[in-house]
Structures are given as C-alpha cells and as structure tokens.
C-alpha cells in the first residue's frame, strides 16, 4: 500500500514535470521548421501527394528501413521462441470449434480483406495508409482464417521467401542510389510521374508494395507461430 502511494506520488511528479516542460510548447501552435520545408517542397521533390508518405519513405526512408528490420527481428524472435513449440492434447481438445457462420463468413470475407489490404498499400503515396497498414490488414485476414479453421497452417518457407525478397527489394532499391551520380542511398531515381496517379512518386510505391508484402508475411508468420503454440503437436515448425 505504501508502495502504491509512494509511486503514485512519484508518477504525479513526473507528470507535473512533463506538463511544465510542454507548457512552453502549447498545443496547436506551429512548431515546424523542417516540416514546413517538407510541406512546401515535398510534392515537387518526391511526387507523392501524401506528404507523410514522402517523409516516411523518402526523406526519412532510412528510418523505415530500420522499422522494417525491427519488424523482421520481432518475427524472427517469435519464431525462435516458439520453435518446436506445441500444445498438449488437452489444450487442443479445449479449442472450441468455430461455428458454421464464422467458417462460411470468413471464407467470403477473406478475399475482400486481401483486396482491401492491397489497395491500401498500393495507394500509400496518394491516400492515408501504406505498406504497414495494408500489410497488417492482410495479416488480420490470415488471423481470421486461423480462428475459423484451427487446423490451418501456412507455408512458412513461402512466407520467409516473400519476407526476404521484399526486404531485399527495399535494400537493393536503396543501393542503386549509390551507383548514380547523386551518390546517395535511397535516391529516388525513377521519374516522378503525374501527381495523384498510381504510377507516380518514383520508387515510393514500389517500396510500399514491398513493405506491404513484408509486413503481411511477417505478421502472418507471427500469428502462425502463436497459433502453433496450441494446435501443433510438438515438433512442428
């Protein structure tokens, strides 16, 4: 109890200090310096209508490479931890069998989920959304499949090949920049195209598609690993 009170006080102090700090930077005030530059020049320089995308993939594309690596690391970590894992017979029997509506409904919905996900990452440079969002939507489709058909397994080798290919696409697209006169990693070397069309913004859509595939396969892999925790009978992969 004393502990709770003491730490509540501590946390109150921290919040107070945070509030004091941010009082100097009030909500809604324009604090942009670099951001202004992006807003003013982003369209001309990258050809993407969505400035957030141009920041994520172009100006700060290297962050995104890191982000992709983080996700990859997490997927690999989960795969390591659940390697050779499997549920006991009891646990498997405890799984409630999904009812008819769920099974049929998920079959109908699944293709639409895939379609929607792909739409989101293909249009990442035009509308809100992008590879990550699209990828996770696709992975949620897989999750639905797992829930309605507990015995489902995905082809893990296939997933990791997609994962690797998508990652390599990103890195190789970046590396091409080093062979150009601009000598800069992730240089947007393709023509910018016309604003607000699908084929615009140079390499950005390609990267987002790659990311979409990568994220989808990684999340699907994580879901698969976690499901396997129960449905596999030890020794599965």
């Amino acid at each position: 109890m004393v502990r709770k009170v003491v730490y509540s006080i501590f946390l109150a102090i921290i919040v107070l200090a945070l509030a004091m700090f941010f009082a100097a930077y009030p909500f809604g005030k324009n604090k942009m310096t670099v951001g202004e530059y992006y807003l003013n020049h982003g369209v001309a320089q990258t050809g993407a209508a969505n400035i957030v995308t141009s920041v994520v993939l172009d100006y700060r594309g290297f962050d995104t490479l890191g982000e992709v690596s983080v996700l990859f690391a997490a997927a690999a970590g989960v795969a390591i931890l659940f390697f050779l894992a499997g549920g006991t017979k009891r646990e498997q029997e405890d799984l409630t069998k999904p009812n008819f509506v769920v099974r049929v409904g998920s079959r109908i919905i699944f293709p639409f989920i895939l379609l929607f996900g792909s739409y989101i990452f293909i249009h990442g440079h035009l509308t809100p959304g992008g590879g990550f969002q699209g990828g996770s939507i696709i992975a949620s489709g897989f999750l639905l499949l797992y829930l309605s058909y507990p015995g489902t397994r995905t082809n893990r080798d296939g997933l990791s090949i997609i994962e690797g290919l998508a990652g390599l696409t990103f890195v190789v697209l970046g590396l091409i920049g080093l062979f150009l006169p601009q000598y800069s990693f992730l240089y947007n070397f393709l023509p910018k195209g016309i604003l607000n069309t699908i084929v615009s913004a140079g390499i950005l859509p390609i990267i987002y598609i790659a990311i979409g595939f990568k994220v989808a396969s990684e999340f699907a892999g994580i879901v698969d690993d976690m499901m396997c925790q129960v449905i596999c009978r030890g020794g599965g992969k």
Partner: protein
C-alpha cells in the same frame, strides 16, 4: 653503449619467451635457453659496473618521457637481481623436476620476473618504474603458486596485497604527474622541492605503502610468511633475497633521489636530528626486526622460520636506509646485498634438504649432518653470516647500522636492533640443530647429498658470504660512489674495512676475525682440557629412565623454545593478520548484503529503479533546474 640498457632489459623477456617455445621441443632446450639468457643478462649487467648513465629515452606516454638510467646504486641492485636469478635458474634445473610439476611456463615466468626487476632498477621515471613493478607483481604471483595447493592461497594473498600497495603508489604517481606532467626522476625531485609539506608527506607515504608491502615491513608483512614458505624451493630465495629488496630500492630512490634529508628536514620537524617521517619509518623497521625475530623463533617450519627472518632482516635494511646518515644508509644498502646472499644461501640449502627429505617440518628432521655434509657446511656459513658474526658478511653491515644509530644516540632503536640480532642466534641455532644435529630418523638413512647442479649455486653464495665478509671494501666501492651522486658525504673505507679516524671507529674484519678465531680456539682447548667430556654414539640417549632404541628416536626439536614462547606470548597475540581478515570479512558481508538488496531478481523492483531515476530528474526540473 647506451643501447645496451634496452637490450639488457629485453634479454630476460626474450629469453623467457624462447624458453617457453624451446620447452615444446625438449626440456633441455628450455634449460639451455634459460641458463644462457640469465647468464647473458648477468654479463650485460656487469658491463655497467660503477657506470652512471642518465636518461636513455625509450618512449613517451601522455607527455612524460620514459627513461632508462643506471647508477652505482642501481647497479648494486642490478647485480643482486641478475646474479641471484642466474643461480636460481641453475638450482631450478636440479630441483624442479619435470615429473613433479608441469614446467611449461616456469622458466618463462622466472625470467619475466628477472626482467621486471631489471626494469625496476633501470627505470629512470616513475611510469616505467610502476609498469615494471606491476609486471613483477603478477609474474611472481605465478611463480609462487607453482608450489601446489597451499601456495595458491598464499599467492592470492600476495597478489591482492601487492595490488593494494601498487595502487597506493599509483595515486602518488598520478599526483606527481598532474603537478609536473613529467615523471622523470629529476623532474619529480624538482617538483617535490617546490611543493607544500602536506603534498610531500602524502606522496612519500603513499609511495611508501607500496614499497612497504613489497618489502614486508610490519604491519604490511602478512603476505610474506605464507608466500615465502609455500613457494617452490627455488622461488623462495628469489622472493626473499631479491624481490623484497625492490621495496628497499624504491624507498631509497624516494627518500634520497626525490627528497633529501635536508629538504625533508626543512619541511617537517625533526627528532634526534632526523626528519619525523624518517623517524617513523625507523620505528616501523625496528618493530619489524623485533617482532619478526620473536615470531621466527616460534616457527616449526624451516621455510617459515626463514621467511620471518627475512622480515626481520629487511627491517635492518630499512632501518639503515632511514637513518639518513652516510654511514647508516651505506650500512642499509650493504645489508641488502648481504641479506640477498646469505638468505639466498639459506633458502637454497633448506631447499636442498627438502629436495632429499620431502619435508620442511623441523621436528621431523634431524641428524642429517653426516648424510649431507656439503649442505650442512653451506648452511652453517649462512647462519653465521645471518647472525652477524665475523668474518662473514652479515657482520660488517650490521655493525655499520649499529654505529650509525649510536652516533645519532637513538638508544631505543639500537637496543631493538640488538635484540633482533640476539634473537637471530636463537632461531638459526634452532634451524641448524633441528635439521642436521640430533638423531637421524630412520626414514632418512638413505639420504644423499644433492646433485652438483644444486650444489653449485649454494657454494657460489657460500663463497660470496666469505668474500664480502672479509673484503667489505668491494661492496663499499660501489655504494660510496653511488651515494655521492645522491648527495651523501663519502665515508672512507679500505678493502678490509674502515680506517681509523673516520666517521666510525676503525674496523678491520681480518683483525676482528683473528681475535675471534683465537678466542674460539682457546675456548675449545679449555673445553677439551677442563670438561669431562666423552664421545658417545648419536643414539645413546635416555628418556624417562629408558634407553631409547633407534626405532623410537627421541626427537626433542618440537616446541624447542616453548618456555621462551610463553614469555612472549602476549606480543604474538597482536595478530595483525586477524585484524585484516576481520575487515575483509566485514567488507564481504557488507557487499553481499547490498548486492542482494539491489539485484533482487524481481522485475517490479527493477522497473521502479527506472521510475526513481526519472523522478529524481523530474524533481530537479520542478525545483528550477537546480540539482543540489
């Protein structure tokens, strides 16, 4: 010519590596390499007899030059190091047998220790000095723990105390560096000359702690009895004869190379015309002499006895060096040389006995005089020298120290020095009696004298005790010349002693010896004429009215000085070691307690640490950016 200093420094290290590699080929390659290189070092050292070379720069570090130098005083210690190491390498070949202990790196370590000590005496700046000092510590640690299971604990104690001592020096060196940005001896002296008294005292005290640990001056001696007695036989003389002398050398450099008696006298009060710092050192040394002598008397273990004796004898060296007069310092330095010779001799002789009998417990031994006559003779010479009886070498140096104390009218110290000397008679008698006299236990009836390789170093040292005993001028030649460089008044000397009308009374060892021999012969003749002596068999003995048969040998060397022990028991109870152990244990308990309360294994606790750190920062911010 000067490049040879660096070559000389490198020789033992190269030799050590080659011995290690050569040992992979065949053990005789290892022996040959070790002997060759230690001999080479000795030869290179002899080249510098009485030479003075200042400042051979061999590198630089953090803006301070690294310098090698030599002068006659350094040469004296260089001679001790190289000569003893050479003899010990030879002795090791006989003593350390391949099948007893694995010798993979023994000779490497031995030569490394030699190299490190050469580095110490050749160092011309404190970084070089400290570097080789540390190398000496850890290489000699590996030598000590060659002695088997018990020696590991002893070595552990040794290395920990050495590190503590070394770091104490380290602080002083860092203080000096920060002050002058140069650690060359001359610059250090200049720095100290312009520093406040507090600074000087702190520097000397901190450096002194390092030296005193190595020199085993009480109360920092506790590592020595264990380490010396548990180390392998050839290593003990190296430790006792040579390694602890490095402490004395360092003390000399600090007191007279950096400071000087006049300077010390200017900044601190004097007692008996001695600066108070030196006076305290004198008392510590005197305490070492007396207490260690008492402890030596009580020992049952031959090497332990010699180890305590080493503490006592190094006390004379330090006492002499700390007197601050030409005579006393010369006596101290000379005693360092003498002690190296006779203590090396004693340890080697005892090592020879251990080699044949496998024990160093005095009460198990006895009557070996007929079985090992050469060793007996050598040991006899050694103990005579140790007890300070003319014409052997211990006499002259002790005499000089007494004389110096007498001239300064420091009576208490003189009495303590005398007590130490008298006590020495008791324990050396115990040593030779229990090993060689008395009755021969049955199991040792087949004992032979040791092989020639082991006898050679023993005899060389035995001869040296006589040479330096009769011709003290040989050593004084170097010492006086060297002390002139450090600003001491030269003392007159001749080859045979000291002429009349100089700083001390006339002393001619030959004459004194002659008198002594005459007296001895007279006493013996009287003994023969007057007493009713008769010749008896070694086994003709009684105990409780029963004739003791050879099987039931009566061995009365256990509890030899029991009654004396009862008298001094209260002193022995002081138990410095117990105090140290107490503190170490307390620190351990304390550390354990706090460690367990911090790393509890509980994630909540760990997380709350993070929050606490952030809270502290937040409080600081709320208080307006003030942190305290």
């Amino acid at each position: 010519m000067n490049i040879l200093l660096e070559i000389m420094l490198a020789t033992p290290f190269i030799g050590g590596l080659l011995a290690f590699i050569g040992g992979k080929v065949h053990r005789w390659v290892r022996y040959a390499v070790a002997v060759t290189f230690s001999f080479l070092t000795l030869i290179e050292a002899l080249v510098y007899y009485n030479a003075t070379i200042k400042g051979v720069v061999w590198g630089s570090l953090f803006g301070s030059k690294l310098v090698l130098q030599t002068n006659p005083i350094s040469w004296l210690f260089l001679f001790i190091v190289t000569a003893m190491s050479f003899l010990i390498v030879i002795f090791s070949i006989g003593d350390m047998e391949e099948d007893k202990i694995k010798l993979d790196s023994y000779y490497m370590q031995l030569l490394f220790v030699e190299g490190a000590m050469v580095g110490i005496v050749l160092a011309g700046d404190l970084i070089t000095f400290f570097m080789f000092w540390e190398i000496m510590s850890w290489t000699s640690y590996f030598l000590i723990i060659y002695g088997g299971k018990k020696s590991v604990a002893a070595g552990y104690k040794y290395i920990i105390m050495s590190i503590i001592g070394a770091y104490s020096m380290f602080i002083a060196i860092a203080m000096l560096y920060v002050k002058a940005h140069s650690l060359v001896y001359a610059d250090v002296a200049a720095t100290l000359a312009h520093s406040s008294a507090t600074f000087v005292v702190w520097t000397v005290v901190l450096l002194g702690i390092g030296f005193f640990v190595k020199a085993a001056v009480m109360p920092l001696h506790t590592w020595l009895p264990d380490a010396h007695s548990e180390a392998p036989s050839p290593v003990s003389p190296l430790l006792s004869g040579v390694l602890i002398k490095m402490g004395a050398y360092g003390l000399f450099i600090v007191l007279y190379g950096f400071l000087s008696v006049q300077l010390a006298g200017n900044i601190m009060p004097s007692v008996f015309s001695t600066p108070i710092l030196l006076y305290i050192i004198q008392w510590l040394a005197a305490l070492s002499i007396v207490l260690a002598t008492f402890l030596a008397i009580m020992q049952e273990d031959a090497k332990r006895l010699l180890a305590y004796s080493s503490i006592s004898q190094i006390g004379y060296v330090v006492l002499g060096i700390a007197t601050g007069t030409s005579l006393g310092v010369a006596g101290g330095l000379f005693h360092a040389l003498n002690h190296a010779i006779f203590k090396g001799l004693l340890f080697l002789a005892v090592g020879a006995v251990i080699y044949r009998t496998g024990t160093r417990n005095l009460s198990d031994l006895g009557g070996l005089v007929k079985k090992m006559p050469y060793t007996f003779t050598a040991l006899l010479l050694g103990i005579i020298a140790l007890a300070g009886v003319p014409p052997l070498n211990g006499f002259v140096s002790k005499w000089m120290i007494y004389e110096a104390l007498l001239q300064k009218k420091e009576v208490f110290l003189l009495i303590m020095a005398f007590i130490g000397s008298t006590g020495a008679f008791l324990y050396v008698y115990r040593l030779i009696h229990s090993i060689f006299l008395g009755q021969l236990p049955k199991k040792y009836e087949n004992v032979k004298d040791v092989p020639i390789l082991m006898q050679f170093p023993i005899w060389v040292l035995a001869v040296l005790t006589i040479v330096f005993g009769i011709f003290p001028g040989l050593a004084m030649n170097v010492i006086v010349k060297g002390m002139k460089l450090f600003g001491f008044k030269p003392i007159a000397y001749t080859l045979f002693g000291f002429p009349q009308g100089t700083a001390m009374g006339a002393l001619k060892v030959i004459n004194i010896s002659a008198v002594l021999v005459v007296a001895f012969v007279a006493a013996w003749v009287l003994f023969l004429i007057l007493s009713k002596s008769r010749k008896v068999s070694q086994y003709d003995n009684y105990a409780a009215g029963q004739v003791v048969t050879p099987e039931l040998k009566y061995n009365y060397s256990f509890g030899f000085y029991m009654s004396f022990g009862r008298v001094i028991k209260s002193i022995l109870k002081l138990g410095i070691e117990r105090i140290y152990n107490y503190w170490v244990d307390a620190a351990k308990v304390f550390g354990d307690y706090y460690m367990r309360r911090v790393y509890t294994g509980n994630l909540e606790t760990y997380n709350s640490y993070i929050v606490i750190v952030v809270t502290i920062a937040a409080v600081a911010i709320l208080l307006g950016g003030k942190l305290w």
